[in-house]
């Protein structure tokens, strides 16, 4: 199983964004470094959700925000290691919609958020046609 290191302050940052954004999906970029089977997240960025018509259950991450995160990552000697988004009132498991757009080689962190709290946080990695779960460590 792959492992992703997501330090508590970054997890807290994501939780705050997720709760503030409820009942709409929020999304963003994970920046850090990869070594062997471990991903280390060092910064998280929030991006705009361009899907305003179905913002409760869909997201399109603003590519301009992704480009900005990529520049910031490179300037810091880091790289984009994955993405995060929320599932309001849904489990922290990837949907078919998530699978269709996913790339091999990135981590996809999903936060299940319900009302005022995050119910669950899990990370996934595409492996061929399906997702496999990653171990999330602090």
């Amino acid at each position: 199983m792959n492992r992703i290191s997501l330090p508590a302050p970054l997890r807290e940052e994501l939780s705050t964004i997720a709760v503030d954004g409820y009942p709409y999906e929020t999304c963003g970029v994970l920046v850090g470094a990869c070594a062997d089977d471990e991903v280390r997240v060092e910064k998280v960025f929030q991006a705009r959700n361009l899907n305003t018509e179905r913002a409760r259950d869909r997201y399109v991450l603003d590519p301009d925000d992704l480009m900005s995160a990529d520049l910031a990552a490179r300037e810091a000697g880091l790289e984009i290691v994955g993405f995060w988004h929320t599932h309001p009132d849904h489990p922290a498991r990837p949907s078919e919609t998530d699978r269709q757009a996913a790339w091999d080689g990135y981590s996809y962190v999903i936060l299940s958020v319900s009302g005022a709290r995050v119910e669950d946080l899990r990370s996934w990695r595409l492996n061929g046609e399906g997702f496999v779960e990653e171990q999330v460590a602090a």
């Binding site: 999906e25 999304c27 990869c34 899907n51 179905r54 409760r56 259950d57 869909r58 997201y59 399109v60 991450l61 590519p63 301009d64 992704l66 480009m67 990529d70 520049l71 790289e79 984009i80 290691v81 993405f83 988004h85 599932h87 309001p88 009132d89 849904h90 990837p94 949907s95 919609t97 998530d98 699978r99 269709q100 757009a101 996913a102 790339w103 091999d104 080689g105 990135y106 996809y108």
Partner: protein
């Protein structure tokens, strides 16, 4: 013809001998990417469709501009420009 730097995202570096950047020449975005693809065909196949357009879940940036907002793959490039290949990220609970 201009010499351009093409930035390769981490998941695609395995199709580019591990390189994070590749220098290539061309007059426009499509020509530069095709030049990269001549040496790294598996990389190109993951970025462009057979019709020469970017794949659905791929964005190409020239500097800080998405080429979809310019002239697409026909966008002219200049000496020293930087092209970035990035994923188009989407999904959702349903």
């Amino acid at each position: 013809m201009s010499s351009v730097i093409v930035r390769i995202p981490t998941p695609l570096r395995g199709f580019a001998e591990g390189q994070s950047e590749i220098a290539a020449e061309g007059a426009d975005v499509g020509a530069v990417l095709s030049a990269v693809g001549a040496a790294h065909p598996e990389l190109l196949a993951r970025v462009m469709k057979d019709d020469g357009q970017p794949r659905e879940f791929v964005n190409i940036y020239l500097g800080s501009d998405n080429v979809r907002t310019l002239d697409g793959m026909d966008t002219p490039v200049g000496e020293g420009d930087v092209l970035s290949i990035l994923p188009a990220v989407a999904g959702g609970a349903e």
